[in-house]
Symmetry: C2
């Protein structure tokens, strides 16, 4: 009988070993793609100074941040909290270690972040994020925008998902657009309305815009603007109809065009679309912004997003550090894929061969054999439980694909038979080794 509540805290994903194995495979595959693309791995502490973590934030972030109570021993230290993303600690890291880094700094991070969100299905308070970023010093080529999108896309390819679509925009287009309409002073409000436009009926978006007092004509223009989506050519055609001269507007269009060109060269032409609804909230983005969706599973929402920021660490240093990055929220992705029965990673039995010594006398022989097989790359469990043979087999059947009993006869003759625990088929150890 339980004496205490042993369930994990709400909002924390805790997996059974077979699920964990599938999760780890996804995580490792993604990390491997990042590495092969020349991104370097770093890790930052989960606990950081509140002053650093909240230098820019405010609003939701501040409400959701997990503060940490200092212990007797750490009383001298500054206020501390748990990091809520990888970007803020990256900014601190780059400023701190600037002289020991090579720029552009291509970096990836894999780790758990924390947000005290209201408990809700599909929302996690502890969640894995896998981020890549390219950080320049003073300047950074827009070519890295497409490089980041393509690298993340390659990473997603390892997960065996259904068709993916990257929706891309550029914040400069929207900013320039608002400049032309003399609406810059309302940009935060309008960004936020656009960001939510997809989740509400058009009438609500219209109402919210009208609530800002834009005037009928401007409301119509903003609505027309956010409805622009499709191929780059379709988008450009409609954007050009506005006939705007704003430098920012046209810079955004040029950057978007270049990003599309590079991604088409990379063979991603069929997997990208221009979409002016993509804003990425009130985040620090200043140029390219993107989201990745599974068009056949719209309810899943964005599975990978990011963008370009002009100045990563402006709150910490005078040095200008432009960057571009993106993130895969793996905990949420794993959970929705599981829900939608799209988890590609077949949950296999984790152990290849369970070696069962018949009695204490055969442990030494079995142990030696296990060592040899592991050196050959096999995952081998030595069954040491003091149980009846039948019980040992039933244990093996739960964790392993194959089993072999080592008894006195096997040792005498040197002939070991391996049983396939699913088919019941027997084969010699030599045959097993060749597989």
């Amino acid at each position: 009988m339980k004496k205490l509540n042993t369930s994990p805290i709400s909002g924390m994903l805790e997996l059974l070993p077979s699920e964990q194995s599938a999760f780890n495979k996804m995580k490792n595959n993604i990390g491997e793609v990042f590495r092969k693309h020349g991104f370097l791995n770093i890790e930052t502490p989960v606990i950081d100074r509140t002053e650093i973590l909240l230098a820019k934030a405010g609003g939701e972030t501040e409400k959701q941040i997990y503060k940490v109570i200092k212990t007797e021993e750490t009383l001298d230290d500054a206020d501390q909290a748990l990091r809520f993303d990888h970007t803020v600690p990256l900014a601190r890291y780059v400023v701190e270690h600037e002289n020991n880094l090579t720029f552009p700094f291509k970096v990836f991070q894999v780790g758990r972040n924390y947000r005290g969100e209201r408990a809700q299905k599909g929302r996690f308070r502890e969640f894995y994020q896998l981020d890549i970023d390219v950080v320049g010093r003073n300047t950074l080529s827009v070519n890295y925008d497409s490089e980041v999108i393509a690298t993340l896309f390659s990473a997603l390819e390892t997960l065996g998902l259904p068709k993916k679509l990257v929706r891309i925009s550029n914040r400069k287009i929207l900013s320039g657009f608002l400049e032309e309409l003399n609406l810059n002073h309302l940009s935060a409000e309008i960004f936020s309305i656009i960001d939510h436009a997809e989740k509400v009926p058009e009438s609500v978006t219209r109402e919210k815009l009208e609530g800002l007092g834009l005037g009928e004509e401007n409301v119509a223009r903003v609505i027309a603007f956010i409805e622009i989506s499709g191929s780059l050519e379709e988008a450009l055609l409609k954007l050009n109809e506005f006939n705007f001269r704003s430098e920012k507007f046209n810079e955004g269009i040029n950057e978007l065009t270049l990003v599309f060109k590079r991604l088409e060269e990379k063979g991603l032409g069929d997997s990208i679309m221009a979409d002016m609804k993509i804003v990425r909230g009130l985040d620090y983005y200043t140029g390219t912004v993107f989201e990745t969706v599974l068009p056949d599973y719209k309810e899943i929402g964005s599975i990978c997003s990011g963008g370009r920021y002009d100045n990563l660490a402006g709150f910490y240093t005078d040095q200008v550090l432009p960057g571009v990055g993106g993130s895969i929220g793996l905990t949420r992705l794993f959970s929705v894929l599981k829900e939608a029965k799209l988890l590609n990673a077949v949950v296999e039995k984790p152990v290849e061969l369970a070696l069962i010594p018949f009695s204490e006398n055969e442990i030494r022989f079995a142990d030696k054999l296990a060592k040899e097989l592991r050196a050959e790359g096999r995952i081998v469990d030595l069954v040491l439980a003091e149980k009846k043979l039948g019980d040992k087999f039933s244990y093996a059947g739960k964790i392993a694909k194959f089993a072999a009993v080592i008894g006195g006869n096997e040792i005498k003759t040197g002939k070991v038979f391996v049983k396939n625990l699913e088919s019941g088929e027997q084969s010699s150890l030599d045959e097993f080794r060749k597989k």
Copy 2:
């Protein structure tokens, strides 16, 4: 100029990319050994209920635990804190998921734990631990004690360390010994004195024991007891001299003997010694206890330790769950190895080949080539920075072992030359690919 203090909080290890790469290699190699030995991976949340985390603890642990302040959104939840080891969350995990696990449950955990220790050289507040445990239901063969020690030893072998020595004892021997002397009521105090005996002169240990009012004869006996160390034979000879009949005492000796027999069978005879000074503090251990040291670097202390516990989750459930486990504290180990210049992992340049498009026109070709080479398993960086060729080469020299420039001529002839950035040697791309 910096505007804020960007150093990580004291007690948190933050590595440069090359160091991180060396750290990751060690971590992955150890995890791979665990996996090959049939241990299954799980992860528990870093945040857990304080009630669970502190059910057993007290003393130091309670003072050092990092409590977490609830946010507006999580106000309904119980008191929360950060886990300080892997064993407590494992106990909760096993109780929670008991019906979905196969026993004996062979499990490994890799992750960061948190203790608000006084800032001090070599002490970390955030630290990686790599744990293995075997948890039984009601019973668990002592053979798993040696299995755990041998698996951890194999894991340490991947780190290329100097000679390692596992010092082994059994808490039953010490408990039985105190029973015979009628000193059970002082066992916590005596355990603690023995645990510290190595760090102080013998006179201090003697003084402390005398302070407990044991009487001269008993003090002499305890001192004689804790000086027992060496081969199993030597230890048994001296233990038998006490001529004790206590069942517990003799059970401990039998278990120790079996553990040594198995480890000798596994070829570890030269790497183990019996040592009655090994107690492992006031922990929950009840049988086998062990520590691993590098005898030529005594100042490093234990790099891997663990033991047997009769009842893992007694605070959470009535179900009896005996277990045996051990842990490698990788953050501390990495840090002391670095200090002692024993870091075996050569810090290599992380990228194999930097592909440098001469201009915008060659990006497409270079990109395609990068993709091919990555598919062949290579780590390839595409240099997209808008810099002069010389600057691109100097960037490449910092991150990559080889570089190749893709210009119009390379595309026309299809002949690409690869330059070794250390030796300056040139070779054809075909030759590079064969390496």
